[in-house]
């Protein structure tokens, strides 16, 4: 997956190839998943996801939202 976010350095090492997108991808998509307990709140409304496929879809949606939010902030800061 190509990185759409600017790379960020966490350790100060130039050799690190860690991007924010990589981090978000790994912390949301890799590892132990506890089904049925995945909740994210949008505009104060809790959305409960109970299936892995739905969770992955929600992650894509969240990433799109984050990117849109970043672009909006970038525009407003100009």
């Amino acid at each position: 997956m190509p990185a759409d976010f600017e790379p960020i350095t966490l350790t100060g090492s130039a050799e690190e190839d860690v991007s924010l997108l990589d981090i978000i991808d790994h912390v949301l998509n890799a590892g132990v998943v506890i089904h049925g307990s995945l909740v994210i709140s949008v505009a104060g409304v809790d959305l409960v996801y109970v299936g892995l496929n739905v969770v992955l879809t929600s992650v894509e949606t969240a990433l799109r939202s984050l990117k849109a939010e970043g672009r909006s902030e970038a525009r407003s800061s100009k």
């Binding site: 981090i23 049925g36 994210i40």
Partner: protein, 224 residues
């Protein structure tokens, strides 16, 4: 409302210093059962999407703190437990599988390479879409072949490789001995890169792709 967020599991090591702060500046606690240790924090729940990006980085930093020194079984950021008692029950039910995986992965890390097609626009002079589609298919074939070449190149240094097709290309996951990360990068970067195809290498990551199914989808995980 608060909930218990779990970062990762690892095997007890008295030399290991624990991270000071977790997601949202929360205290990081340890649940100990036999040799298994689970790092957890009590956090305000649910997360607001606006703060998800920051929390993802904080979560990652806690896992990385341990992973730099030891093998870990990472949990996903949005996986939570109702309370510490639920986490203790979960740990008791899954201790054998977690311990076995941590022993098996003790000296390994996960390296990744993603191969993807550089998006191209149809030339304006193109009279029909046929030529464009043919070139697109050719570039896609080149990317598939390149992924296969990378897999073949890293095979001698990894007995465990997984390849997954994703929306934008191909991801290659390799289980590599700790300390061999730079060599993995060198091996991948030595594979000639076709035009119109790109690739990226990342890692080391915890070996999440190589967890046993009993750990990926652990006992008791269906309970909210």
């Amino acid at each position: 409302m608060s909930r218990i967020i779990v970062y990762c599991g690892f095997l007890h090591d008295e030399k290991l210093e624990l991270p000071g702060r977790g997601v949202g500046g929360s205290a990081v606690n340890v649940l100990a059962q036999e040799r298994l240790r689970l790092l957890w924090s009590e956090v305000a729940w649910p997360f607001e999407p606006a703060g998800l990006q920051q929390k993802a980085v904080e979560f990652h930093q806690v896992v990385q703190h341990v992973f730099q020194r030891a093998a870990v079984v990472p949990f996903r950021l949005l996986s939570i437990f109702e309370n510490v008692a639920a986490l203790e029950k979960f740990a008791a039910e899954n201790i054998a599988a977690f311990t076995a995986d941590l022993e098996r992965l003790r000296n390994y890390v996960q390296m990744e390479s993603v191969v993807y097609v550089i998006q191209q626009r149809a030339p304006e002079q193109e009279k029909s879409g046929k030529g464009y589609l043919e070139r697109k298919a050719e570039v896609f074939r080149l990317s598939v072949d390149h992924a296969a070449s990378i897999r073949a190149a890293v095979q001698p240094m990894s007995d465990h490789i997984q390849v997954r097709e994703v929306k934008s290309g191909t991801r290659i996951f390799a289980l590599v001995r700790r300390g061999e990360e730079a060599r993995f990068r060198e091996v991948v970067e030595a594979v000639p890169l076709p035009e119109s195809v790109s690739r990226r290498v990342s890692g080391p990551w915890p070996a999440a792709e190589f967890l046993s199914s009993a750990v990926k989808k652990p006992h008791g995980a269906e309970q909210p």
